[in-house]
Symmetry: none
Subunit: 239 residues, 2 copies
DNA sequence: TACCTGACCAATTATTGATTGGTTTGTTTT
DNA sequence: AAAACAAACCAATCAATAATTGGTCAGGTA
């Protein structure tokens, strides 16, 4: 180590020891600090580099210099998740999560939530375009998630839903302009809403599970043929 | 429906039908559009509200009005979710999700995953600081999630975990420097890993559920006192 | 050779003004 | 009296700009 940097390091450590730092651990910009310490900026930077190498602080251009460990705010983007996933994985995730949300919704749903659910089933029946149909479907499932009354779970559902859309949009571009004559879904949606309305968590769970199973099977049949048998477990969880 | 809004709705639908919209589906600001259609802004807004209610378009202050479904691509940042949530909600979410991951892990876990889990339990026993203890705990739960073999679910777990950390860091600043003498957790972790290793999904589910219940109760006791009774449902889902 | 000074670069933040959906208020119309 | 309208205002958002900050380079100095 050269003499000037050694001096700067000593000064810096002393300053850090006596000085009370703000909450975010930020210390003054280099141009100020080097004047405070009475050292040149180059020397100060070498001293800071040493402390950074030891993990005692971290720096970022345009932001500043901070004591402590560099924060790792790894927010996985929806696109990144969708990239490494398959429609099958998304369906399995839905199959695990949404029935629980339905069960919770049966406990916590408000009257407004129930109204909205019924409105969605009606809108879906009245849909004349694929977009309307899908809108109503999305909205119904979203309302169920929201009705569960847990903002964290709602956020997770939103993320899952976003991944689902990203994958569907990316791989299965087929979007007919007419709504499907899928009376199966109508009845299943009705059963879900009914179970939630009657405050029956177990029935809501089963109804949602059965509905999503149907959706999954349709998806897989469309992709792999009618005789496809899904690998892995798909049973409801133990009680 | 009142006559002016009915007229506005007709005009609007006609305009939408004949007009080719830009790629993003954005239509002109209200102040322009009402002039184009020859209706008052109030009437136009009522008509727009109807279409929005039917999911045919969506609006946002400062942004504009767009046809189609409201994009949920808005990646909710961890901080944003944590802001509107409570530790209790996070625990409930963990209670709903992680037992299922454990059950799936019992089916799909590889030998490498099992090794890693056992390594984590060992590391936790040997931990001498709180940070090491917590690291081992995080890693164990993360490995279970990964062992479930579904990248979407793993991503959701990561997000949930990030929210949990954000909340714990933000609200409960107490961080003792010594690991807890919490032999309860040790035994429960062992039971989880054992159940997964023996390929018993139901036992893995129950073990994880019991473990997280304990964690939650400890958390609540610490926060609200020993006699706190948690509202809402916390029962395992129906079979 | 080591060091300092000054300038410049690129990433980031702060600021300002304009745009836009949402709301209120007072007036006019029916 | 109720509905409709017009204008003003509000808050969220966006675009453009300026300021800040860590990183780097060139030239001079001891």
């Amino acid at each position: 180590m050269n003499s000037s940097t050694e001096s700067a390091l000593t000064q810096l450590k002393a300053w850090l020891a006596q000085r009370e730092l703000p909450d975010d651990g930020r210390l003054p910009p280099e141009r100020e600090l080097c004047e405070l310490l009475g050292v040149s900026r180059g020397a100060l930077r070498k001293a800071l580099a040493l402390l950074e190498r030891d993990g005692e602080l971290w720096r970022q251009v345009g932001k500043g210099t901070f004591v402590g460990a560099r924060p790792v705010d790894k927010f996985l983007s929806v696109a990144a998740i969708a990239e490494g996933s398959s429609p099958f994985e998304v369906m399995q995730a839905r199959l695990l999560i949404e029935p629980m949300l339905a069960a919770e919704a049966a406990v916590h749903a408000s009257a407004a939530h129930l109204d909205e659910m019924q409105r969605c089933t009606r809108l879906q029946r009245e849909a004349t375009t694929w977009r309307q149909y899908e809108n109503a479907d999305n909205r119904l499932h979203r309302t169920v998630a929201e009705a569960a009354g847990n903002s964290v779970l709602t956020a997770l559902f939103d993320q899952l839903n976003a991944v689902r859309r990203a994958i569907v949009w990316g791989r299965l571009r087929q979007k007919p302009d007419h709504p499907p004559a899928d009376h199966h879904s109508f009845a299943q949606h009705d059963e879900i809403v009914r179970a939630i309305g009657e405050r029956d968590p177990e029935r809501a769970y089963r109804a949602m599970h059965e509905h999503l199973s149907t959706v999954r099977d349709n998806l897989l049949r469309k992709r792999y043929g009618a005789d496809f048998v899904r690998p892995g477990s798909n049973a409801p969880p133990p009680a």
